[in-house]
């Protein structure tokens, strides 16, 4: 007999069709390829309409700040003529405190326009607060499902704070222990309530992030006369990279290098009841970043609108200790006290800027709010309580779940390039493994895979040939 989990998952397609109000089947071209741009345009909102919707929602138009002290600090140990100018888009200034408001504002607008009575999202991150806040403004009911605790009912302070803020905005918060069944329960709730699925990965949400890249390009044009040479983006599920890169392109910033960055959490299992509270970051880490880059369609929608590999030129990883150090430095040197996870890209940018010429411009495109629990001190104190060693030293000695090593000086912040070829090959392997057995990819499939991995048909064909040999 099928388990309760299997029974509800078997109805996923039917439940999501009603809960999204959109038939993804319209865009499928083969067991591998689909019409990505057609899907993205299907909601019918232009960038100007999205800007207007967000302005009415109190979202966007956040300050872009030049970080002169951080820039000079980096220059103090760079080779002569090096040390790029560093800027930050202060997304914490959005209503619910993060760039996720851009995502939520479009999902909630769509839900209200389509006449749903409420919205549901499964997220332990800032997106919950954003959905709850926007739902409150639209008088929509809101349920947020959170993976909040281990089986002993212990939760990281960062997630507890995210439960609190959702309740502050009037949402019903369903707190659960560790496991992917968060999504199966979300399906049950969608089925029970008939509410709209405010998925992180819908076309509405990702289109909502395009305004962020668009603003960055235009504001840098006004400030420096040119789009930024580099944009660094904290990467988890892929929406931040995808939306920002698409927005940059919309503004004509085709030459800007798009760099994703994640905290290295290698070695920790994302569905482990034991590892759950040993992750000192709850998002922006490789535990989401790598699997979502190599198989975006693992999401709760049939086709994920967030497809980070299409857009990333580089993928950098930083250590937990480096990000906590940078979070402290940002507060002390720039007067910007912000949440640690949002500073992942900041740590990567500080490493990157050192190797770039002084006339290069690096934009860190987000910050997130901070507060009790959602703070680097709270996270580090909690880590210690979990038996994790916290000490000063060389960040290379950082070991996720065992030791958080805080740099002794900023020169020690060195981001590491994740091998994009490995990510792309892994994506192609996943795409083939999700097609029916024996399916032979067509020329259209090859072209799609090349686009979806930001590579070329030769690379895809070579990868397929290698996989066949193996």
């Amino acid at each position: 007999m099928a388990s309760a989990f299997d029974q509800i998952m078997a109805r996923k397609g039917e439940i999501m069709l009603r809960a999204l109000g959109m038939d993804y089947g319209d865009f499928e071209r083969s067991p591998i390829a689909f019409d990505y741009e057609g899907m993205m345009e299907a909601h019918g909102y232009s960038i100007d309409q999205i800007i207007a919707i967000q302005a009415a929602a109190g979202v966007g138009n956040t300050p872009l700040l030049e970080l002169r002290n951080i820039t000079d600090l980096v220059r103090s140990y760079s080779e002569p003529g090096h040390g790029a100018r560093i800027f930050v888009k202060d997304e914490a200034a959005n209503m619910a405190g993060s760039f996720k408001d851009r995502r939520a504002s479009m999902s909630i607008h769509a839900a209200a326009e389509k006449g749903y009575a409420g919205v549901i999202a499964a997220t332990s991150g800032n997106y919950g607060a954003a959905v709850a806040s926007q739902a409150a403004r639209h008088n929509l009911n809101c349920i947020i499902c959170q993976e909040a605790f281990d089986s002993a009912h212990v939760g990281q302070p960062e997630i507890i704070e995210k439960s609190r803020i959702c309740e502050a905005f009037g949402a019903e918060v369903v707190q659960m222990t560790v496991g992917p069944e968060l999504f199966s329960h979300m399906l049950e709730l969608l089925d029970e309530t008939g509410y709209f699925a405010a998925s992180l990965y819908s076309t509405f949400g990702i289109s909502g992030i395009e305004t962020l890249g668009y603003e960055v390009a235009n504001e840098m044009m006004a400030l420096t006369g040119a789009p930024p040479t580099h944009v660094v983006i904290t990467h988890a599920g892929g929406g931040n990279t995808t939306g920002t890169a698409r927005g940059l392109r919309r503004a004509g910033a085709h030459g800007t290098e798009v760099i994703s960055a994640s905290v290295d959490l290698s070695g920790l299992h994302m569905a482990s009841d034991r590892d759950f509270n040993r992750k000192s970051f709850t998002t922006g880490h490789t535990g989401f970043g790598v699997p979502f880059a190599t198989w975006p369609d693992r999401a709760d929608v049939p086709r994920n609108a967030a497809r980070a590999l299409r857009y990333m030129d580089r993928y950098l990883t930083v250590t937990q200790g480096e990000v906590f150090y940078v979070t402290e430095a940002l507060a002390k040197l720039e007067g910007l006290e912000r949440g640690p996870a949002g500073n992942t890209a900041m740590a990567a940018a500080i490493s990157l800027a050192r190797d770039l010429p002084a006339d290069a411009t690096v934009v860190v495109q987000e910050t997130e709010y901070t507060g009790a629990g959602k703070h680097h001190w709270a996270q580090l104190n909690f880590a210690r309580e979990q038996g994790i060693e916290v000490r000063l030293g060389d960040p290379r000695e950082n070991k996720p779940g065992t030791a958080i090593v805080i740099p002794e000086k900023p020169e020690q912040i060195r981001a590491i390039d994740f091998d994009l070829v490995r990510l792309r090959s892994s994506y192609v392997r996943n795409a083939l493994s999700h097609a029916p057995e024996g399916y032979v990819p067509t020329a259209d499939d090859i072209a799609f895979l090349a686009q979806d991995t930001n590579s070329d048909p030769e690379f895809v064909e070579k990868t397929i040939a290698t996989l066949k040999e193996a």
Partner: protein
């Protein structure tokens, strides 16, 4: 005032329930997760008086009925910023000093 272990009807409370027993859980979980039931906590207004640990139905903020064992009465939040982290305490002071030294050397060189 003594802390009551009973809630009254209409009070804001939390209930705990087992959503999935281990046998009903997702396949391919690591063993330490697979052997545990999936637990869920929901908050809402008590539909009856009950003692901690007793079964109770609550009406949630969206008007749903959820039944579980009463686990908390008027549950709040106690998360904090925590104590200063000694490994970070000197970061601001030291970086500002470095910056000042470097800027002085730059203007001296001009």
């Amino acid at each position: 005032m003594a802390v009551s272990n009973r809630c009254e009807q209409g009070e804001w409370v939390e209930v705990e329930r087992v959503l999935l027993e281990p046998a009903d859980r997702s396949p391919n979980l690591p063993p330490e997760t697979a052997e545990k039931p999936l637990l869920l906590w929901s908050k809402g207004f008590a539909t009856a008086s009950a003692a901690l640990g007793e079964e109770l139905t609550v009406e949630t903020m969206t008007g749903r009925s959820v039944t579980g064992r009463l686990s908390a009465i008027n549950p709040g939040y106690t998360h904090t910023f925590g104590s200063p982290v000694p490994e970070l305490s000197t970061v601001g002071r030291d970086l500002r000093a470095r910056l000042a030294t470097w800027r002085a050397s730059q203007s001296a060189g001009e």
